[in-house]
Symmetry: C2
Subunit: 342 residues, 2 copies
Amino acid sequence: MVIDIHGHYTTAPKALEEWRKRQIAGLKDPAQAPGVSELRISDDELRESIETNQLAKMRERGSDLTVFSPRASFMAHHIGDFQTSSTWASICNELCHRVAQLFPDNFIGAAMLPQSPGADPKACIREIERCVDQFGFVAINLNPDPSGGHWTLPPLSDRSWYPIYEAMVAYELPAMIHVSTSCNPCFHTTGAHYLNADTTAFMQCLTSDLFDAFPTLKIIIPHGGGAVPYHWGRFRGLAQELNKPQLREHLLKNIFFDTCVYHQPGIDLLARVIPADNILFASEMIGAVRGIDPETGHAYDDTRRYVDGTPHLSAEERWKVYEGNARRVYPRLDRALRAKGR
Amino acid sequence: MVIDIHGHYTTAPKALEEWRKRQIAGLKDPAQAPGVSELRISDDELRESIETNQLAKMRERGSDLTVFSPRASFMAHHIGDFQTSSTWASICNELCHRVAQLFPDNFIGAAMLPQSPGADPKACIREIERCVDQFGFVAINLNPDPSGGHWTLPPLSDRSWYPIYEAMVAYELPAMIHVSTSCNPCFHTTGAHYLNADTTAFMQCLTSDLFDAFPTLKIIIPHGGGAVPYHWGRFRGLAQELNKPQLREHLLKNIFFDTCVYHQPGIDLLARVIPADNILFASEMIGAVRGIDPETGHAYDDTRRYVDGTPHLSAEERWKVYEGNARRVYPRLDRALRAKGR
């Protein structure tokens, strides 16, 4: 079985985007603000948006189950206030839940949080509980920079984030660290901000003792860990200078990397440098890079080819990357599968 | 001949730091502000600081000439105003010049600029001219974020930066894109901010037409290009989505990467993915990562071992990385060498 732990609902029906535009317009002119009930998307529309896109590609490329969360660039936590994000997160999570209900063998939900730059992270707990208890979601996406590229919040090791970690531990939920659209003109969203955030989050963990406080916390750094595996020697050396334990001991019981690296040499580096126990298969398909690579004739984001093609994984390690690690890092996912005899 | 294009004067005599502390104290209490003439460092002190450090390691590891600039983390352009940076840059550049005079066969200068978040980049031109005309410097370091991690200036493609590029073209000076200390608690200076800035600058170039406006401009992205080579497929795909030419055509006539990547797999990836014509040898020795790698028994920043050890460079390509490319990208360096029959 091949589990893709990084899928977003990038293909939601246009009505969702239209509703969001009205919500944003309503921040300036309350007369334009739409009610939640004004968003109407039928099951048929949902079904079509998935069957012709993600599901078609999953079948074509050979993956079975996707951990599915709202579109990352649309989270845009910097827009409006907590109430804005709360309504928006609730709508987006519910759509992912409906997709998972329509395709229970192929999708399982992960929650976007109603983060907002000025709001206490604690305020997100209710949405986490709703998504787990009512929807059966198995993970969350945590945005380390809800300001959208201005980095105004304290690092992830700060105590203000602890309520989120307490909920994660209590519910056995891993978090993927994932920023959203950059509203800072210095940072291109998917070409700079995403990768920078991955590197930044890793280093925030490295310099802190976060995992002493939360020994069972599980964090996934997406996009192959940003710059981290490529500079693994630098990070090992920095840990040494800072008198931290070696990285395997200090971070690799808690931090995992996905395989959203869109060429063979990148995946080869990842698999050569990072222990197989810490790599989880993912593609973020129909996401940042949707084209066909002229050098290979295949989609850039068809990461199964690279994982299959790398010489740095044994058959057993490849199984871990495709399935075993996901079951271990996402205990609720494993239990949901087992309940169905999978 | 082996040319290291990325060396900073990280070992300057303590008096320099003491002077800087007084300059910073003087921003609050002008009575404490020191005069420039109060900084006294003898040639013997300079000689010792180099002979026992950089020069000793260059001999040990086998490099001949270092392009030498002021300590990057000490630039701290976010402190004070333009006048503060101007005085500080002038002092630091002059010290590098004195080192190059004392060891003319082993060091040649590159200028730190007197950037300041509120100041027009144009204000840096005088220091560039002084360093080239009076000191014979061959390059500059350009900080894309003088705010120190708050990224308040427009991207490098913005016209406000053009006066710097005009001077670079007129003087045939390449620029290494190099940030300084982060004063944003989200970003560890050498573990996140440096690498993020590298990735960010590359993407700013990718999304723009900067090199149409300046076809002969030469930019070096240090630290192996941040996250770029590891995610080369992502960047190729993003250029495609943005209807830009292929990266070789669009950026690789103007952008070069150094080899400050501190482990063998990282250098292997770099040499496998990036054309040898675009890789320049560098170590940034006695910099961010000064320890011994327990996995190899050698210094992390002894990058010659990795360049020698990679299977992805032919003998001719290795010569380009060590010498040929530096002579091409730094024309003033080449002329200075030729003038001495080297």
